[in-house]
Symmetry: C2
Subunit: 774 residues, 2 copies
């Protein structure tokens, strides 16, 4: 844990430069626009420790490295998110000496992530080794309006000298990944050109032939006037730069504006890359930095209009939730249904592949509630489009029918190869089915089932049908050899959650079949034919539903995480010597596996997903049993515990859980933020507030709210989109006020009372004390 | 399966050249001397598919490649057996055209591994593209007398032409491993020199700085006379050659003798390598090829004197068992207690690390019975010397005391990184304890316990003590999260074999403590002090011994392989569609894991090791239950089943099991011999004959024999060393004849009758029919 950032409601602020924090800040101050992203690397040279990271969404590398004993069925590659062309770089030379913050004294340093407007800025005074002092101010952003455009304003003012300032903006494709084996580089040069008007560089990946063209142009101003300069060009392997020199007097500012377009072969034909990039760049440069920045601020204002959460009485919490919402919005914009949400967004290269079950289990609710429904719908269609590959994946594992979605994927293919995950963490299939339910339940868009959802559900149910077997010893269906959500258990039998979500999938599939049939009988029959669905199959699903085995402890009245769980030494986390924590950094894997300690919600994940099927007493018994053994070493864990704790009236526990992720990256809680931010878990923090403290549910088509205010806050409010209405929920000391900002009335429930909120008006209900809630 | 080799009692013969078989033959015809080994690559250039392999024992590379999610406690590297300097190479040019069997017609090809004398020879007629025909004969060996020396005689006779023959013997260190990622090479040049007298090349590994110096000298003879030739030298990176040209008339033979010394920094100081190699080489060259070859034949005759098995009535079986004995003897000579037995010996690079539990569980009995006891003793001392590293390994996994021996090792450190193996296949620790028992029981050398054995036993018992935990639910000690000998189950609870061998270790440790105390009380107390052994520890071991949980099926009366085994679908291998076999090539890992199919003896391994503790009925019930589900996809499996089958009177099953490994490589049964031979499993074949068909046991210090003759054989005999006596056991149609070839009497039992065999004499007992045996 490291707290060096200043608390502020709308900005992340670092007010002095400590190289030891730099890589953490590079992660936290990252900027992105769903299409590309960039760690907060310095524009000028920096010879200190730094993790360079420029990422283009959907551009990856299939790494074939093999170790250990290969398992049949493994995917051919392990996907790597690629660090791509460094387009932010600007060499800065003061009378011939490179400006490098590792080589000079840095004063009055401020780095700011302006979340309201979506910009990263920095200012500082550098004292060079020869005593020359200069003030530097930079601002940059990647545009959420023109998604191929990044812009930088970089201003230098000599303070105690007059002299030559040289600037060398560049494009550098000769970059590497930190996680590459043998220092291998992944890019080859295709073409480049340096010119007075613009310079460009096209590189391609060594495998898969992704092409990325970066095109830059720049202006230099002095005393508010654009200078006419003749650059010197420099080219080398995968590198172009244009260098200009300006003579500046003391206190005279020279400002460089660098505009870059990054375009890829995902969006343009190979022959069109330079042309497309040039057009985007020309248009941006013509608009100019200030206009681009204003566009950016306006577009971010619209995002905040939909998704802001306001917390009163706790600026630190306010900053944290906005940071989380900001990161989520800059990671995924929902405009491209080929894209998804990587666990680290655009903030680091770790967790190579892009899409995990995080998307369906944790991120979907955020996008469902804070944007128009087509954004969430695109997340679902992403999986629909991968259905054929998920079927191939199931075939590869020996299933004669059905689909198994990959654990980690870039394009629908599995790209992770650890058997206990790849082959056995199959509950992910349930999360993909659950997301369909969640989307339909939240939006009321039942047409999605007939259009896309049912096919996915049927194929997933077919998978479960074959994945269970009938145990003669138990007289029940069992599911052997799985890894549940708690990845601190591998290859277990009868993981309660997996058994439960499998049966739930089959139940919901049967329900969805009825729903589609009722909607449109002809379409239903066409779908049944397309799917080749037999009555014997649905009968078998019902048989499994009726005869599934669930491990259960009669004595305690709790569902058992898996067979044999009670053979473990049952120890509470609080009774563990803290020096053992986190266990994943201190214990060997076998010790973790045979311990009772739980990485993330597992049985409780099931009680959360299927919350309407279990009574409070059942939830309480299970929560009381499992919570004390849960180490929450996945950042995806605390939110589920927080939400259940709220439901059970454990307000202090709920707040404790909320705190575990609220400032996870801002305070570097897990001591790993330098690798990148925990982007997908940020959605969990949002859930902890909205579904936990706000108590938001959708039951029978009605939006239900059961808010309580954590004792550390005075009030809070959040906005949600629900079935076309933008609602602001404001929990104050006395009242719950729901304002309908839309043009149509909205039906809601607060605690146990139903209301209709007329367009552009509000309703208000007395706030209940937490003790009255559960 | 591929049968292309000619059956012969003393040789392996390949009588025509088919490039499709070449890589298989390269494995099978490998030669070695315990210090170095060499696949049967051709001396002359060969541009067809070939796996080059020259291996120096104990020289390896720590490969750091990482994929997947790193687990805490993993070793830093994965060891690779290194392909090292190609020292056999001889460029051969006929009027300037390279001889290359992939580029000419090959007639009258014979490749022969002469197992009696330890030589590899080859003869053929090559028809060059221009029609020139030449006869070639080569013989080579690595000396088991001078272990750093290899020698080659290579004779060429033009048949239908006169012309220039050029020979370019070389040393080539610019070699690679087939299993290297990214084509990485592992060797760097240190120095080289080409000279008329001798040429040498020193290379070192990129990591760990192993140095290997290869020094060559050669002579050329024509018409029986040594030629005085002036070579042309050629040097390039990691390569030296000396080239000579000879004019030969039709039918005039030119013979090149190449002598090489390979010396390593394992045995010599870095500064002494060239000197030491030069001395070894000079001495060998002075002795000359014929002398070296005669020495080799004499030394092999001595080995056969101790270890031969004679089978009458089945030449194919005779060839197979000799091949197995030959491979074992050329893999491990017992002279260097830093060395051990790699699963593929010197025949391939697969299974990178060197030492597995194969050594203790399968190989030890062979060396115990076929050599002086110090050879087997050195295998045990190898582990004693690694005790400190095994203790470190246990610490690394969080154990506060005790030792966990590595699954795979080169120098005592673990060098395998798959968690389910590295961290969980801990029964290996039991095999290391069992080997001590086996050695002491066989040799009667109880002093080994006080000298070395007890320390190892105590540290292993300490490991088991901490590895179990007390299950409140069961009221017993349990062992969670292990992988048993059947690696087709991972991370299971209460593997019966592991629980059993753990308890057995503690029992034997307590017994050994008593034994050492009785032998020498002062030494006992010194050892207890050295070990810091507390009475609370031995009491705890006893408590675990008395309260261990063993999964058991009351209904069937069988030990259960692990908890939950009966939840599986129990299917016999014979009921599986044969196209699914072997399942490890056809099924994904998860499917294998949740199936009932057993890779290798697991419960049955325990009933074999601890055979004197279980009655025949128990063995029968378990054999009848597990054998039908066993796929024997480890070559280490069938021998245990064969031995138990013999004991149970299942002679046909025993013979079937014996056949599974007897000609495993000769017939390429598993279709993978091109990767190398299954060296360690060859000891299993030996066991199947001696302990299975021969029924050899050592009970209460007495050698017990219960032979039966497989119906396909007319008689068989084998030799064993037992407590200083060399005994030949001959099972004929009518009698069992035991001949004592030593100078001291030996006490033995045949079936249930005890005998004393006087020195240099024999006893004979009537052979019992198999039906009378069980």
């Amino acid at each position: 844990m490291k707290q060096y950032l200043k608390v502020d409601p709308w900005s992340i602020l670092e007010e002095s430069f400590d190289p030891a924090n730099h890589e953490i800040s590079e992660s936290i101050f990252s900027i992105g626009n769903g299409y590309m992203g960039q760690r907060a690397n310095f524009e000028e040279q920096y010879s200190g420790p730094s993790l360079q990271g420029s990422y283009m969404a959907g551009v990856y590398y299939p790494d074939k490295t093999r170790v250990g004993w290969w398992k049949n069925g493994y995917p051919e590659y392990f996907a790597k998110v690629l660090n791509s062309t460094n387009w932010i770089g600007i060499g800065v030379f003061v009378d011939g000496v490179a400006l490098d913050l590792a080589e000079c004294q840095v004063k009055d340093f401020v780095r700011e992530l302006n979340m309201k407007e979506g910009t990263l800025s920095r200012r500082f005074t550098a004292v060079m080794k020869d005593g020359k002092e200069l003030a530097v101010e930079s601002v940059r952003f990647v545009s959420i309006v023109r998604h191929e455009i990044g812009a930088i304003r970089y201003a230098v003012t000599p303070l105690n000298f007059s002299g030559e300032l040289r600037f060398a903006p560049y494009l550098d494709g000769d970059v590497k990944n930190k996680d590459s084996n043998y220092e291998e580089k992944f890019w080859l040069e295709v073409e480049k050109s340096a010119g007075a008007d613009l310079s460009y560089l096209t590189v391609k990946t060594k495998k898969l032939d992704f092409h990325v063209t970066s095109i830059m142009a720049f202006d230099v101003e002095q005393g508010g006037k654009r200078l006419e300069l003749t650059p010197a060009f420099h080219e080398q392997e995968k590198f172009v730069s244009a260098e200009v020199a300006v003579t500046a007097s003391a206190n005279e500012t020279v400002t460089l504006f660098k505009y870059v377009a990054n375009v890829t072969s995902r969006d343009h034909g190979l022959g069109d890359l330079v042309k497309a990039g040039t057009e985007a760049l020309r248009s941006a440069k013509q608009a100019g930095f200030d206009t681009l920045k204003r566009e950016q601020a306006e577009a971010w204002a619209k995002k905040w209009e939909m998704s802001d959460i306001i917390i009163d009485g706790d600026v630190s919490a306010q900053q944290a939730i906005r940071f989380n919402i900001f990161q989520l919005n800059q990671t995924y914009s929902g405009e491209d249904d080929r894209l998804n949400i990587g666990p680290k967004g655009f903030t680091g290269e770790k967790y190579g592949g892009s899409t995990y079950w995080d998307t369906e289990a944790y991120c979907l609710p955020f996008y469902l509630s804070t944007a128009e429904s087509d954004i969430a719908r695109n997340l679902l269609i992403y999986r629909y489009k991968h259905l054929e590959k998920a079927k191939e994946n199931a075939r590869k594992l020996g299933f004669t029918k059905g689909a198994l979605y990959p654990m980690v994927t870039m394009n629908g293919e599995e790209c992770h190869n650890e058997w206990e995950i790849t082959f056995e963490e199959i509950h992910r299939n349930g999360a993909i089915a659950y997301a369909i339910f969640n989307y339909v339940n939240y939006t009321g868009d039942k047409s999605y089932l007939g259009e896309y959802g049912l096919e996915v559900l049927v194929e997933i149910s077919r998978f479960w049908e074959q994945r269970v077997n009938f145990s003669q010893a138990k007289g029940k269906y069992v599911m052997l050899g799985v890894t549940g959500p708690n990845e601190y258990e591998n290859n277990v039998n009868n993981n309660w959650y997996t058994n439960r979500i499998a049966v739930w999938t089959m139940e919901y599939t049967l329900e969805a079949l009825g729903e589609v049939k009722a909607q449109d009988s002809a379409h239903y029959h066409a779908l049944v034919e397309k799917l080749g669905l037999e009555e014997t199959e649905t009968k078998q699903w019902q048989h499994i539903i009726d005869n599934m085995y669930y491990p259960y402890d009669e004595e305690r009245g709790v569902f058992l995480q898996q067979d044999g769980f009670l053979d473990k030494e049952l120890i509470a986390v609080k009774d563990l010597d803290p020096k053992h924590l986190p266990i994943n950094q201190n214990w060997s894997w076998d010790r973790i596996l045979r311990s009772c300690f739980i990485k993330q919600a597992d049985v409780l994940q099931g009680l959360f997903f299927l919350g309407d099927r279990y009574d409070l007493d059942t939830k309480k018994r299970n929560f009381d049993f499992y919570e004390p053994m849960t180490v929450h070493e996945s950042s995806l864990s605390p939110c589920v515990h927080a939400i259940l704790a709220c439901e059970l009236g454990y307000q202090e526990k709920a707040y404790e859980m909320y705190l575990r992720t609220a400032r996870l990256d801002l305070d570097n809680y897990n001591n790993d933020t330098e690798d990148g931010c925990h982007t997908t878990s940020m959605a969990g923090t949002w859930m902890a507030i909205v579904q936990g403290f706000g108590g938001l549910r959708v039951n029978d088509g009605e939006l239900v709210l059961r808010p309580f205010i954590p004792s550390h806050w005075t009030s809070f409010s959040f906005k949600v989109m629900f079935r076309g209405s933008l609602l602001q929920v404001n929990a104050t000391e006395d009242n719950i006020i729901v304002t309908n900002e839309s043009d149509a009335p909205a039906a809601i429930r607060i605690y146990d009372q139903s209301y209709t909120v007329a367009a552009k008006s509000q309703v208000q209900a007395q706030r209940l004390e937490p003790s009255a809630l559960s």
